[in-house]
């Protein structure tokens, strides 16, 4: 049962407030959704924590799990960025301002922000998986939360500069002395003034200090696979390395069985796990 009295499987009605492409190749589209009912909005923000995801629904096409890419202080809307890869995300890409869309969520545990208070944060993202890390950075960087955390370091890699999401904020963060930001692209480009190389190599090069720090990694499986050991080599303990996982999902509430990792369900018990937790689970990713 959801707070609105509907079944676990019934989406709440939303409308597209803004829809815009993030990248010139139009593979990434951001949707900002507004709630049709104020009660749904209230229930959402009471439960919401950065790092959680929702299931976006297009009637007749199905549902797709997408990370929430905004912080609660930004206002009464929910932001998602979808890469056009499957049938549901293709349908999501066709949506424009004013179109109806269904949503279930927030789902999952989100980042353990309370445990991280007083610590330095090293946020490492790759590609379109950066969305929940963007929500995290926006949350932590906000004046009402900033004092709760130490130094903020951001490492963000994409294949090309065009595929970098949320360019406006990223550009502003480069100017911000409160934050150390390292941006990388995989393929060299003219006039690129930041790192060129894969994220695990950039992490080794930047070598963030493990002193009183937690590292949060979110990216494609291949990036995560090589970044986690790089962090261990830098001296981060497995308890202080976190990652957000993704698997194919359907129900989003730990019933349909699909996203299990050993005895845990990524949708319900995750998607955020520490490396220590992952080490105790089977390598079934």
């Amino acid at each position: 049962m959801q707070p609105n009295g509907h079944s676990l499987y019934t989406p709440i009605p939303m409308h597209v407030l803004h829809a815009y492409y993030e990248s010139p190749d139009r593979s990434l589209k951001t949707l900002e959704l507004s709630f049709d009912h104020a009660e749904d909005s209230q229930a959402f923000f009471e439960a919401f924590n950065p790092g959680q995801f929702c299931l976006l629904s297009v009637a007749g096409k199905g549902e797709s799990a997408l990370g929430v890419a905004n912080a609660a202080w930004e206002g009464d809307f929910v932001r998602f960025t979808a890469q056009n890869v499957g049938s549901v995300t293709a349908a999501l890409h066709k949506l424009n301002a004013g179109d109806p869309v269904g949503m279930r969520g927030p789902k999952g545990n989100g980042f353990p922000l309370n445990d991280w208070k007083g610590k330095n944060l090293v946020i490492i993202g790759g590609g379109c998986a950066f969305s929940t890390l963007y929500a995290l950075t926006k949350h932590v960087h906000h004046e009402s939360h900033r004092d709760d955390y130490g130094k903020l370091t951001l490492i963000y890699g994409t294949r090309t500069s065009g595929l970098c999401m949320y360019k406006h904020d990223i550009a502003a963060w480069h100017e911000d002395e409160d934050m150390e930001i390292h941006q990388a692209i995989d393929i060299p480009e003219d006039n690129w003034q930041y790192h060129v190389g894969y994220v695990p190599d950039v992490v080794k090069q930047v070598a963030p200090s493990p002193e009183n720090a937690v590292a949060i990694v979110c990216g494609p499986p291949i990036m995560t696979k090589f970044t986690l050991p790089a962090l261990v080599d830098l001296g981060f303990s497995p308890e202080n390395i976190f990652t957000s996982l993704e698997k194919r999902m359907k129900c989003g509430v730990g019933k349909c069985g699909r996203c299990n990792l050993g005895p845990q369900y990524i949708c319900k018990d995750g998607p955020v796990f520490s490396l220590a937790e992952l080490n105790a689970l089977p390598a079934d990713l």
Binding site: M1, P13, G62, V85, R248, K255
Partner: protein, 340 residues
């Protein structure tokens, strides 16, 4: 309370329940037993104890059922289902255990599947114990038994011309009101049958350290060996009473979002939109099936997620036998220190 039920009066008793309930019981369909609604002409399947082909989980989690209805202008509402009060008669203890195991997934605090839960609440389950071993069952091996009560409302023990009826709940007692009370002597006779049925069940494999062995040999080529002849047809999971995975798909013409039984033995089950598949071959999928039953269920609720009904053994088209697979798993290396 314990009652005596003459076999020749059973049909009348079943028919009398129809006034207030939908009654389901195993009946012959083609060459198999199948839970079907009782009609005036229905006949209870007799003969040696055996299971229906489709497990009774289908009575609580139908193979295909609408979850959400699409409304005009892009809205959604809960799909409506008329759920009647029911009596399920003749459910075998292994299947009753399986339904109870599935409750741990479908009925969790703050996370309740409304359809499963309503069907469970509105159903009285009456078990029929197995007085003789069935063909491929191994319930006692996995810690269950041919006369386990699970959360049955009542259970019958076959005494030849009569049944002993044990009732475990008010609802169960209500079904057998007015039947003569069983004497101490008959009750003891039934207990003997129950004990002897338990003792006759063969031990199919050892379960000691089995979980640890499967866990520690996650990357062993044991999995290649045991999955080699698998066709990936999924019948083992489809007919398994504790398998509950489902897919959710949109049926555009019906304007509904529907769940269908699904199987971890299928490639598309875990295939992601990017093309990545965490379980790309039958090796990983076989490992998932066995590990789910014999490792993950234990982690989650401290019970083996297999009730030993033997369906996967009986219906596998290439004769893959989970009992043999697990006997072979017992020969795998195991480090005790690891387990602590």
């Amino acid at each position: 309370m314990n009652h005596i039920l003459e076999k020749h009066t059973l049909q009348d008793l079943l028919q009398s329940w129809r006034q207030d309930y939908d009654v389901y019981l195993p009946q012959k369909m083609e060459n198999f037993s199948h839970f079907m609604p009782l009609t005036e002409t229905s006949v209870l399947v007799d003969g040696d104890p055996h299971n229906t082909r489709i497990p009774p989980k289908a009575l609580f989690l139908p193979m295909n059922e609408a979850l959400v209805k699409f409304t005009r202008f892009g809205g959604y509402e809960d799909a409506k289902h008329e759920i009647q009060s029911r009596i399920v008669f003749g459910i075998r203890p292994c299947d009753a255990q399986a339904v109870q195991l599935l409750d741990t997934s479908f009925i969790q605090e703050d996370n309740i599947d409304p359809l499963w839960s309503e069907r469970r609440e509105k159903t009285i389950t009456i078990g029929l114990g197995c007085h003789k071993p069935c063909q491929t069952g191994f319930c006692t091996t996995v810690g269950y038994g041919p006369f386990d009560r699970a959360d049955l409302d009542a259970m019958l023990t076959d005494l030849g011309e009569t049944y002993l009826v044990e009732t475990f709940s008010e609802a169960g007692e209500g079904c057998f009101l007015g039947l003569p009370v069983a004497s101490e002597e008959i009750y003891n006779q039934a207990l003997d049958i129950q004990r002897s049925a338990h003792d006759q069940m063969p031990v199919a494999f050892e379960t000691e350290n089995l979980k640890g062995k499967l866990e520690q040999n996650f990357k062993s080529d044991y999995w290649d060996t045991v999955s080699q002849s698998c066709l990936g047809c999924g019948v083992c999971t489809f007919l398994c009473p504790t398998c509950f995975c489902f897919d959710i798909v949109d049926e555009t013409q019906r304007r509904e979002r529907v769940r269908n039984w699904d199987s971890c033995m299928f490639r598309t089950y875990s295939l992601e939109a990017s093309g990545h598949n965490p379980r790309p071959s039958r090796v990983e999928r076989t490992r998932q099936r066995l590990s789910h039953k014999y490792v993950y269920w234990l982690d989650q609720v401290n019970q083996i997620g297999c009730t030993g009904c033997g369906r996967c053994v009986r219906y596998c088209p290439v004769g893959l036998d989970i009992r043999a697979m697990l006997r072979q798993a017992q020969t795998l290396p195991f480090e005790v220190s690891h387990a602590a």
